[in-house]
Amino acid sequence: MLLSGKNAVVTGCLRGIGRKTLEKFAKQGANVWACAQHADEEFEKFCADLAQDTGTWVKPVYFDLTDFDAIKAGLKAIFADKQAVDVLVNVAGFTKDSIFHMTSMEQLKLIFEVNYFSQILISQYVTKLMVRQKCGSVINIASISGLDGSHGQLAYSSSKAALIGATRTMSRELAKQGVRVNAIAPGVIDTNMNSLVPEKVIAGHIKAMSIKRMGSSNEVANTILFLASDLSNYMTGQIIRVDGGIK
C-alpha cells in the first residue's frame, strides 16, 4: 500500500474530489482527518465504515473556510491528537461565476477567502508541524483556469492562479526542511461544481481535449495519491494538469 502508516489531512471531503481522495487514501493505508464544511450524518457513517473496512482511522473535522477562527479550532483539534501529519491535501473550493465587469469586490473577496486565504492559513499551521518532522507533502488543488484563464471565471481563475503562485513559493521555502509542495490543475471533472455549467460550454471544452470526455474525481485522486506517496519524492513546485489534454 502506498500510504501505509501515514497520516493525512484532507479538506473538502463531503463530496467530489475530496471524498474520492479520502476513500483512496484510507484504502492505501493512510489514517485521515476528513475535513468538511458541516456535520452530516451520511458523511459520518461513510467515515466510520471506511475506517472499519480499511483498518485505518478516519476522523471527521468540521470547519467553514470563511471562518478563520473555526479553521484554527479544527486544526487545534487535529494537533491535539499528537500524531504526525505526513500529507495535507487542500481540496475544498468554491466558485460563483461571472464575467470580469460583472464581478463585485464582495464576490471576489469571498472566493479568495475560501480558495486562497483559508488554504494558506491551513498550510501555515500544518507545515509548521511538517517542518518539525522534517518531512511532508502538501498538495493544493488548483485548476486549469488558474493557468489558462477561463471566460466568466474571473474570481475563481484568479484565486486558483494565486494558489499556484503560493505552491511554487512554498515549495522553494520548505524544500530544505523536507516538505514538498505541489499542485494539481484539474480540467473539466464530473463533479457537483461542474453540474452548474451549461452543457453547451462543457461540450465546447470536450471538443478541445485530446481525450474527449470529462475526467472523474477518481482520476484526479489518483494523481493526488501519487503526489502524497513516496513515489513522487523528487518532485516539488510542480503544477500537474489532469485535463485530458486540453489544447
Partner: protein
C-alpha cells in the same frame, strides 16, 4: 507554570534551537541580530517552543516574536 520556570525553560529552548550559549539569551536578544537567528532558524525555534510548551502558536505571534522578551510575553499568553 511559574514565570521563572517558564523563562528558564524558554531560555534553554532558545539556546538549543539556535545553537548559542545560554548567556547570550537575554531580553535584548533580537531576531536577525545574530546570524544564528535567521528566518529559517526562526521557524525551527517556533517548532521547539510549540513542542516544549505543548502549544500551537498563531501566525500573528510567529511574526510578532521578535525578541526573547517578546517570546516570554507570547508564551505566557498561551500558558494562561
Amino acid at each position: 507554570m511559574e514565570s521563572e520556570l517558564m523563562e528558564s525553560k524558554l531560555k534553554t529552548i532558545f539556546a538549543e534551537s539556535l545553537d548559542i550559549d545560554q548567556s547570550i539569551v537575554t531580553d535584548n536578544l533580537r531576531y536577525a541580530e545574530i546570524p544564528q537567528w535567521d528566518s529559517v532558524a526562526h521557524m525551527a525555534l517556533m517548532a521547539y517552543i510549540e513542542v516544549g510548551f505543548d502549544i500551537m502558536i498563531d501566525t500573528e505571534d510567529v511574526i510578532d516574536m521578535s525578541s526573547f522578551e517578546k517570546a516570554k510575553q507570547i508564551v505566557t499568553k498561551y500558558l494562561d
